[in-house]
């Protein structure tokens, strides 16, 4: 694929994730994907913008909502689709499903269904990278809700204390399942992070991969120079329901108006025409991945007790 400029390239990557997830939503009712899915629809630009300035050897730790980060970091679409289908060719041999995607070959180190639980892992990987002088940096990705967990506090403190090369990347979509932040948090996320002595900034344009990329690129530079951990709070919006493929604006826990504001700023919706030429290749790639997943074998019974300890 050739691109007119970097922005186009970023938008392509964002569109690709959007189309992959839309396709997942389309085929989900067929039960070929037999695991809960937490879609990133609306949040793709955060993943693309974050991963853009990273080297392949840099590491990312994610959450159950990691389709976007897995793909943005360079994880194989075929292996992801096969994983969702529960096939032996999946990125985790069918043991992970949608919630535990992994692609260590490109630095996507794992994702967890227990909120906040990979945050200290990212810090530990940063500790190892520094100690082993690999020059790698690590990104810990988490939602606004994760900041309420005690382990988040413990992780920020340790990272700041040891000036570790870790970027804390908060995808703030203002909700944890159906709970607004006001029902859960007494603090401002960025201000709170600063109280640990961590250089923190807010990025309001989580819909724009370029803006996110710029913010992250600046942080990555600082991280590589050994300046200690960084923090970025990215405002974003989840179009779909928390888990599953539906829309849930009719329920009333969040107003459709807000959604429409975000849609109005979404470059994938605004730049439709410029992105048109990417649709066909993306569709072909998705078709290929689905075909690969469909044709792949199921894990065999011997896998059940393999790799336990």
């Amino acid at each position: 694929m050739t691109f007119a400029d970097e922005r186009e390239q970023l938008l392509y990557a964002t569109l690709r994730i959007r189309r992959v997830e839309e396709h997942i939503a389309r085929i989900y009712p067929d039960d070929c994907i037999q695991s809960p899915v937490h879609l990133s629809l609306g949040q793709e630009a955060v993943a693309v913008g974050t991963c853009a300035p990273l080297a392949r050897t840099d590491m990312v730790f994610g959450t159950y909502r990691s389709h976007a980060f897995y793909l943005a970091k360079g994880g194989s679409l075929r292996e992801m689709m096969a994983e969702l289908f529960g096939k032996a060719t999946g990125c985790a041999g069918g043991k992970a499903g949608s919630m535990h995607l992994t692609a260590p070959e490109v630095g996507f180190m794992g994702s967890s269904a227990v909120v906040a639980s990979t945050i200290p892992n990212a810090v530990g990987a940063a500790f190892a990278a520094r100690r082993r002088r690999t020059n790698a940096i690590v990104v810990g990705v988490f939602g606004d809700g994760a900041t309420e967990e005690g382990v988040y506090h413990e992780s920020l403190n340790f990272a700041a204390l040891h000036r570790l090369p870790v970027l804390f990347l908060c995808e703030n979509n203002e909700f944890a399942v159906h709970s607004p932040r006001s029902a859960r948090q007494s603090y401002d996320i960025t201000e709170h992070a600063r109280s640990f002595g961590i250089a923190a900034k807010r990025c309001g344009a989580g819909f724009d991969p370029e803006v996110v990329r710029d913010a992250v690129a600046e942080a990555v530079l600082a991280l590589r120079s050994g300046a200690g951990p960084r923090f970025i709070e990215c405002a974003t919006y989840r179009y779909a329901e928390h888990v599953g493929i539906g829309d849930d604006h009719q329920i009333g826990y969040r107003p459709l108006a807000t959604c429409n504001e975000w849609r109005a700023r979404d470059p994938l919706l605004n730049s439709r025409a410029c992105l048109e030429r990417f649709e066909a290749p993306i569709a072909a790639e998705i078709e290929d991945a689905v075909a690969f997943a469909e044709a792949s074998p199921w894990p065999t019974p011997d896998a059940l007790l393999r790799d336990v300890a």
Partner: protein
């Protein structure tokens, strides 16, 4: 032993596990202004799979409230609230999340009464949900009753029916004596039960075990949803092969009815334990201990234990189906035990019934 324990007479009706939960929660709030319900999402439209829906509107958001993602802290808050005179009901939509609260549960809640020489009681109910099936994976599938039941001071229940919910929760909440950790099975929520169940033998307290079916050939001690599986297997084996299975619903992992279990094993000489968790250091092990300490010579055959495979839970359906005990496997194992040989010649049930529920369940989670 042998007399039916009832806190109140109830008319016969058909009610789901979910509705039994909802009714218990509702009645607790209605009866006692000190009861509160706290948990992530208890006040949203899904209301813990329908078990708390609308209660915040009815009883106020000061009594039924959402909490931050902070399992250990919120358990500590619940403990403090109990000391302050409230009866907190805390929810975890997955048991797995209660593991974040092990410090408060094991180091504090379980010990608060004893450690201070009996000067406090911390009556509270921690409701957790076993999240089996539909690709839930390694972290949304655990059933940690053994971790809690190992620790003196915690009362651990696994209600297997609407009846168990109504009786046990009702009594525990109204008596306000002990801290209780309950494991509710997600796949039971949709199951309807006829109540009162014509129970053969009810425990005299909300704790203890429940004799669900009498039989002279094999004793099955089962937990949670496996009680239903065991009853189906028993029905099938009775009709297909005249094998009569005695089914004991363990119900309370921390306070099993030792006498009931031992008496049954003494009669049948054959024991199978079917538990929702891993066998090692689990219910399977604990029941074996009870038998071994009392009279292992009552066993006329080795004990069979059935639980999750000794691994984390994989998501692929092909593996998940092997991972969890199935009706098929349960029936087969009981037949082997009863007949004393692998080639028992008993026709197995079509892979229908509960296994079907597992296969078809896709949420909501």
């Amino acid at each position: 032993m042998g007399f039916a324990y009832r806190i109140e007479e109830r008319p016969e009706e058909i009610i789901t596990y979910r509705d039994a939960l909802w009714r218990t929660m509702h009645d607790a709030l209605a009866r006692d202004p000190d009861v509160i319900i706290m948990g992530q999402g208890v006040d949203d439209h899904k209301g813990i799979f329908g078990s708390t829906t609308g209660l915040a509107e009815t009883f106020g958001r000061e009594r039924v409230f959402d909490v931050p993602l902070a399992e250990d802290g919120m358990t500590g808050v619940a403990l403090g609230a109990a000391l302050g005179g409230l009866y907190p009901i805390q929810t975890h939509i997955r048991c797995d999340f209660a593991l974040l609260a092990i410090n408060q549960l094991v180091n504090m809640v379980a010990k608060y009464r004893y450690m201070f020489g009996g000067r406090f009681r911390v009556p509270m109910l921690v409701r957790t949900v076993i999240g089996r099936s539909w690709g839930q994976g390694a972290q949304h599938s655990q059933s940690p009753q053994a971790l809690f039941a190992h620790v003196p001071g915690l009362t651990v229940v696994l209600p297997s029916s609407a009846d168990s919910i109504l009786e046990t929760y009702g009594t525990l909440i109204s008596r306000r004596q002990v801290p209780v950790v309950s494991l509710e099975h997600r796949l039971l929520y949709d199951v309807a039960f006829r109540i009162p169940v014509p129970a053969l033998e009810w425990p005299q307290a909300p704790l203890g075990s429940i004799l669900r079916r009498r039989g002279r050939h094999v004793t099955v001690v089962a937990t949670s949803i496996l009680v239903l599986e065991a009853l189906r297997a028993a029905e099938h084996l009775s009709q297909a092969a005249g094998i009569e299975v005695e089914v004991i619903d363990l119900h309370c992992a921390s306070h099993p009815d030792r006498e009931m279990i031992l008496a049954s094993v003494a009669r049948t000489g054959r024991l199978l334990v079917a538990d929702t968790s891993w066998c090692a250091y689990g219910v399977a092990a604990e029941i074996c201990r009870l038998v071994c300490e009392h009279d292992p010579s009552a066993l006329r055959a080795p004990v069979v234990t059935i639980g999750m495979a000794a691994a984390p839970c994989p998501t692929a359906k092909t593996l998940e189906d092997l991972y969890y005990p199935s009706l098929h496997r349960l029936t087969d194992e009981i037949a082997v035990l009863a007949r004393g040989r692998a080639k028992h010649g008993v026709e197995l049930p079509a892979e229908a019934s509960m296994a079907d529920v597992y296969k078809k369940f896709k949420g909501p989670f």
